[in-house]
């Protein structure tokens, strides 16, 4: 077994890796190309950095290409991204034409690779218009939409539809995120990488160092929410829940830790509001962390007794997955992908208000045995469902399914 796969086998077991090898066997040597718009930053790049090497180890000829564009192009695609998530964006003919022109330029550059590819995965709207340049394409093309497109701004979606309807399939993270399309809509939830800095087991000394750095008392219970300072993440609601719970007696500490908000004017406003609300309480640890503070986030999640993700609106909620992976019960907002990951009394609680969150915090703190049991369930759930290996298996299965056509049963033994 190759080195990377060996490491994953230590986490998920040989069985799972054996299954990946068998699924990959018929795809061995196939030219698979993933295309997105950035090599660094963002969830898509993060996942491709992990998936591509594993694909290669499994024998696929997998490559990752990045399209290039100018400021106007990214302005247009940023608007498309926001519009897919429901914001009312006015893009205009000129920007649309520019979007198509940039895609045409990228087509010229990537054509030798794409025209020979057996399977092409186009991530998000940025490179979606490449498809029109390959009317006689050799391989299968799928469009992978990573955002919640359940209620898109219609004029923009109608435009994008022209480009994405021609794909052989589309892939969304959750059924609720999908827009009805002509092509089959596959559902592949995201995943976390158990070997990444954010999720790898940490030595006790490193956790202690983080605890000391931020002056967190090891003797008192800690609740923690890791997320951007964004109204939809409801940091003010978390503070309220903490205050209500603390009023009943437990000597609680709260960590609210998030990434930089320098490019997000509203983020700064929210951060200031949260700062003001936390100003007079030394037990609220408000941490603005740099984007590469993965190990610190990892340690903070491990320091916490309970992890909260009290979002009012959420995509899939990978911070919830990360917390569950660390064996922490999660109190999550009853929205988006959190609803799929958290089951009441099993691995955490879904709540609809700060009061609900406070109630569950009190319950967990007074039932230490339940907290341990729920933490165990939480970790087992992620091992089974939300690790990178499951994600990879679903990509392989998707490729086999799309290459084989739309039948319900695909028997690989009958030849490929």
């Amino acid at each position: 077994m190759t080195k990377k796969l060996e490491k994953y086998a230590e986490v998920v077991g040989e069985n799972i890796i054996g299954q990946l090898r068998q699924l990959a066997e018929p795809l061995r040597g196939m030219r698979v190309v993933h295309i997105n718009s950035t090599r660094e930053g963002g969830g898509v790049a993060e996942i491709l950095h992990r998936l591509i090497p594993l694909n290669k180890e499994l024998g696929l000829n997998a490559t990752w290409e990045v399209i290039t564009g100018d400021a106007d192009f990214y302005q247009c695609t940023k608007k498309m991204h926001n519009a897919l998530q429901g914001d009312s964006e006015d893009i205009g003919e000129k920007l649309y034409a520019h979007y198509e022109r940039i895609n045409a330029q990228n087509h010229e550059r990537l054509s030798p690779i794409l025209s020979q590819a057996d399977f092409v995965v186009i991530h998000d709207p940025q490179p979606a218009a490449l498809l029109q340049h390959y009317p006689e394409r050799k391989g299968k093309w799928v469009w992978r939409c990573h955002v919640d497109a359940s209620r898109p701004h219609r004029p923009v979606w109608r435009y994008l539809q022209k480009h994405v309807n021609g794909y052989d399939a589309a892939v969304y993270s959750l059924p609720a995120f999908a827009q009805p399309m002509r092509n089959p809509l596959y559902i592949i939830p995201p995943s976390i990488d158990p070997l990444s800095d954010k999720n790898v087991p940490l030595p006790a000394e490193e956790i202690d160092t983080v605890r000391n750095t931020y002056d967190i008392d090891p003797e008192r219970p800690v609740i923690c929410q890791i997320s951007r300072f964004d109204r939809f993440k409801d940091p003010m609601g978390v503070i309220k829940a903490y205050q209500i719970a603390k009023a009943f007696g437990p000597p609680l500490q709260l960590i609210l830790a998030g990434g930089g908000a320098a490019d997000d004017p509203e983020g700064e406003t929210v951060f200031k509001e949260v700062q003001a609300a936390a100003a007079h309480d030394p037990d609220i640890h408000l941490l603005m962390l740099p984007p590469d503070a993965h190990r610190t986030i990892n340690a903070l999640q491990r320091i916490a007794d309970i992890v909260v993700q009290k979002s009012l609106k959420e995509g899939f909620g990978l911070t919830v997955t990360e917390a569950l992976w660390k064996g922490k019960p999660v109190i999550g907002g009853n929205v988006g992908g959190i609803r799929i990951q958290v089951v009441n009394h099993t691995n955490g609680f879904l709540v609809n208000s700060p009061e609900g969150a406070a109630l569950r915090i009190r319950y967990l703190l007074s039932h230490a045995d339940r907290m341990v049991a729920m933490g165990k369930n939480a970790k087992a759930f992620v091992i089974e469902n939300y690790l990178l290996t499951r994600h990879l298996r679903e990509y392989l299965t998707l490729m086999l399914a799309v290459l084989k056509g739309s039948r319900d049963r695909i028997e690989l033994s009958s030849g490929f």
Partner: protein, 228 residues
Amino acid sequence: MESFKIIDCALSVIATGEKAYNLRDLHDRLQRVDDQSIMFFHFWDGLLRPDFIDPEYQNDFASWAYHDLHDRRLAEQLSILNPSKFSTMRELRERVIQILEDHMDEGGFDSRIDAENPFFLMRSQIVIFDTQKRLETPEELGRFIPHMSLGSVFYHFIDACRRTRSGHNDFSEWLWTWNEHHSQLGNAIASMDPYFKSLLEIREQLSGLFTKYLGPAADPDNKLESTK
């Protein structure tokens, strides 16, 4: 005697694009769809999906009735349905439709009030592959069961019911071709109710039955001898 072929499988989940916003809507949509894989998905595929197995409501319809319609009575009525007792998915669909109709006839609520979240009608594609592992005797199979992937458990135990002529699982079918003693094990496996269990629990129960009927020779702690 033929050897037992260990087959594995993986699912691709597909959204049909159809969704029901309320009870009436679900009823109408179920009447229109005639894709048996949709019913199979919502009753059985949960075992292989990256979802939490709802500890209380075993199929997606019951779970939706409870969590999104907040209709406990309907959730209970749908939850008790055992899909393995229906000879076809079409019959199962008819039964679900009847339950919805009876419930709407009882009245006392507006069946057009939207649920908290819609019900998404889904189906799956199953990709089946031969692991090339062959087991020659029931004892050898017993020793292998704890090492079997969950995909294989699904294929041989759940999927088999819609594939075999008898409507039973592959283990029983194979054991019935052996002697009387092995046939009894086959019967015991055929009478297992998989509906309220996860695949892990099914695998454990299978392993327990092999050890119980075949003794130490099928005990997983015994070293595998003759797999090829």
